[in-house]
């Protein structure tokens, strides 16, 4: 049994099912990110754990005890909010020691942990400043110290970095992870930023429509997405709607073109599948007559400079593909050039699609 267990949690708001039976088991000291688009239910799940809301069905277990009906002020959950939540009438120090005061700790007993926590978040120099005298990043650091001061059983973070600028966001997420590892505190982190989730978590749970689509390590989520939604949501992915034509050799057909994909071996002939190829797995070169085997021939539509790599969008025969390649090599393939994109037979992943279903949502592969 995990340290934090969410068992079959349901939460309805009228006719909307915000959570439709989610199950999570998290070990002590682990860091789990709930990742998903707006309205997927991730914040609802976090609020249920915090006790600000009650589930229609299901249980929340912390360290073997059912806390589903326990009031939020008795749960010992430290929470950092998306909005700046520091008490405006209190200094940074007073904010951090608020929880300890509530617990009846004397001034002497409060001073040491408060000083240590403010030092841990790098704010020893700003202890007597009021929230309006602190930057957004500093405010969230104080909020983190305040949440940690009560030595919570679980640390809950509800998109704590979303209001910050990009540089501070990266800096602070690394600090959150460092502090979490240092204190060994079980953490539930809500974000819609997949890069953030992959960078700091032990586990990631991708949510959509009130259910968990897939849960695994960041590496598993990136390399082996289990559903079309996860494939679309985690990183950038080329997706080809195809049909298995020879399960023995692993041949699939997409838009009248035959491709060899190792993962298709053993599949039933006629099965509808989604072929997933990461942009960095595609090999792009100037097209010679007819193109190379297992290749897709098209024209360079756009080039997007991303620093060391350039993202090249190729189009042709009604199919769009994107490839990431070194900026130096991309210079040889200007917009309008005819190119051949080699599909790696061993690197592509496959997801089964329902035979009579609508298939995948038609989205631009780099539309994130």
């Amino acid at each position: 049994m995990g340290y934090l267990e969410l068992q079959n949690l349901h939460r309805d708001f009228g006719t909307v099912k915000a959570l439709n039976g989610i199950n999570i088991s998290l070990g002590e000291g682990e860091f789990l990110s709930l990742l998903g688009p707006s309205g997927c239910g991730k914040t609802t799940a976090l609020r249920l754990v915090a006790g600000f809301d009650r589930p229609n069905q299901g249980r929340i277990i912390v360290d073997g005890k059912d806390v589903t009906a326990v009031a939020p002020n008795k749960r010992d959950m430290g929470m950092v909010f998306q909005a700046y939540s520091l008490f405006p009438n209190m200094t940074a120090r007073q904010n951090v020691e608020f929880g300890l005061k509530i617990r009846g700790k004397s001034k002497g007993d409060r001073a040491k942990p408060v000083d240590e926590l403010l030092e841990l978040v790098g704010l020893s120099h700003a202890v007597d400043r009021y929230p309006h005298q602190l930057s957004g990043g500093m405010q969230q650091r104080v909020a983190l110290a305040r949440a940690l001061a009560i030595q919570p059983r679980v640390l809950l973070l509800d998109e704590p970095l979303s209001a910050l600028d990009a540089k501070v966001r990266v800096q602070l997420r690394e600090e959150i992870r460092r502090i979490q590892l240092e204190l060994g505190i079980t953490t539930l982190y809500v974000t819609h930023d997949q890069e953030e989730a992959l960078a700091v978590s032990d586990h990631v749970a991708v949510m959509y429509g009130g259910v968990i689509e897939q849960m695994g390590t960041p590496s598993e989520m990136y390399t082996a997405p289990a559903t079309p939604f996860v494939a679309e949501f985690i990183g950038t992915m080329n997706r080809l709607d195809a049909t298995v034509v020879d399960g023995g050799t692993g041949e699939v057909e997409h838009a009248g073109m035959r491709l060899r994909v190792d993962a298709a071996q053993g599949r039933r002939n006629g099965e509808r599948v989604l072929v997933l190829i990461r942009p960095e797995s595609l090999e792009l070169e100037a097209a010679t007559n007819g193109g190379a085997p297992n290749s897709f021939v098209g024209e360079v539509l756009t080039q997007t400079f991303l620093g060391p790599v350039t993202r090249v969008k190729v189009t042709g025969s009604g199919t769009n593909l994107i490839a990431d390649m070194s900026t130096a090599r991309a210079a040889a393939l200007p917009v309008g050039a005819r190119v051949s994109a080699k599909i790696p037979s061993e690197g592509a992943k496959l997801i089964s699609l329902p035979d009579d279903g609508p298939g995948l949502p038609v989205l631009d592969p780099d539309d994130h």
């Binding site: 915090a50 006790g51 600000f52 009031a71 939020p72 002020n73 008795k74 749960r75 010992d76 959950m77 430290g78 929470m79 909010f81 909005a83 700046y84 939540s85 520091l86 008490f87 405006p88 009438n89 200094t91 608020f98 929880g99 509530i102 617990r103 007597d128 400043r129 009021y130 005298q133 909020a143 305040r146 949440a147 009560i150 809950l156």
Partner: protein, 261 residues
């Protein structure tokens, strides 16, 4: 500052200053000779027992009204913002009723409504009159406090406080109330001014409050009435200033400490 702005400023200042100055001149005239200048009228007021009695009564009524109103409306408006936002327009409409209903109609209604209540309530200013003043102060209290609650993130502050272990009273008194202090002060100022100047209800309900005393003196003593008017003006402003100083003391001290570092 442009010339037109200066002219408008002077006109505005004159609008307020000229009546006060005229009142001052009248208050300095001798009751016997009708000539300037003597402080005798101020002495007459200060040595009048009714002045101190009615002033004390109105001041205590103001304090009672402020305390009851804050105790009643702060938790109510907090609850509305936190849990019942759909009720806000209803309460806002109800808050307009004391503006819409003429005071004379209201006092008749109040007298009829409370008729039959115990004497300690109906016959005493601290009962009936204070209850009426709470109703009269309702719109000022509601709209000031509502603006205060709207200026803070009530949900997040409440949840942050709860997650740290605080119960409802702790959250209200240590987190919410200090952050709506300005709004509560503004509401208290307005209530103080209303109670110190309210005439209709007190007169029709036959209570002898400070405004009734002013009216009585105005009818019977011309020059002392000027002195009394100026003094009541000064007393009300002094009361408001002391409320402001008491209310802002903690915030100001905090800001100074923070600024010094």
């Amino acid at each position: 500052m442009t010339l037109s702005a200066v002219i408008w400023l002077l006109l505005g200042a004159a609008y307020f200053i000229i009546p006060l100055f005229a009142t001052l001149l009248i208050s300095l005239k001798s009751t016997q000779t009708g000539k300037c200048c003597t402080a005798h009228n101020y002495g007459w007021v200060l040595h009048n027992g009714d002045f101190w009695h009615t002033l004390r009564l109105s001041a205590l009524l103001a304090v009672e009204t402020i305390v009851i109103s804050l105790a009643l409306f702060v938790p109510t408006i907090y609850l509305i913002h936190l849990k019942l936002p759909r009720l806000r327009p209803v309460i806002a409409f109800l808050a307009l009723v004391p503006f819409i209903v003429p005071p004379i109609v209201m006092v008749v209604g109040l007298l009829r409504t409370f008729k039959g209540t115990p004497d300690w309530f109906y016959q005493k200013p601290y009962g009936f009159l204070a209850a009426s003043y709470v109703i009269l102060a309702f719109p000022y209290m509601f709209f000031s406090l509502d603006a205060g609650f709207r200026s803070i993130d009530v949900h997040t502050l409440t949840e942050a406080s709860q997650s740290l272990g605080a119960k409802w009273p702790t959250t209200l008194f240590r987190v919410i109330l200090p952050n709506i202090r300005s709004a509560a002060l503004a509401a208290s100022f307005l209530t103080l001014a209303i109670v110190m100047g309210e005439f209709t209800i007190a007169n029709l309900a036959a209570f002898h409050t400070f405004p009734i005393f002013i009216q009585f003196v105005s009818e019977s003593q011309g020059f002392p009435a000027g002195a009394l008017t100026l003094m009541s003006f000064g007393i009300t402003w002094a009361a408001m200033l002391s409320l402001l100083l008491v209310g802002r003391k903690r915030g100001a001290r905090g800001a100074v400490i923070a600024g010094a570092r």
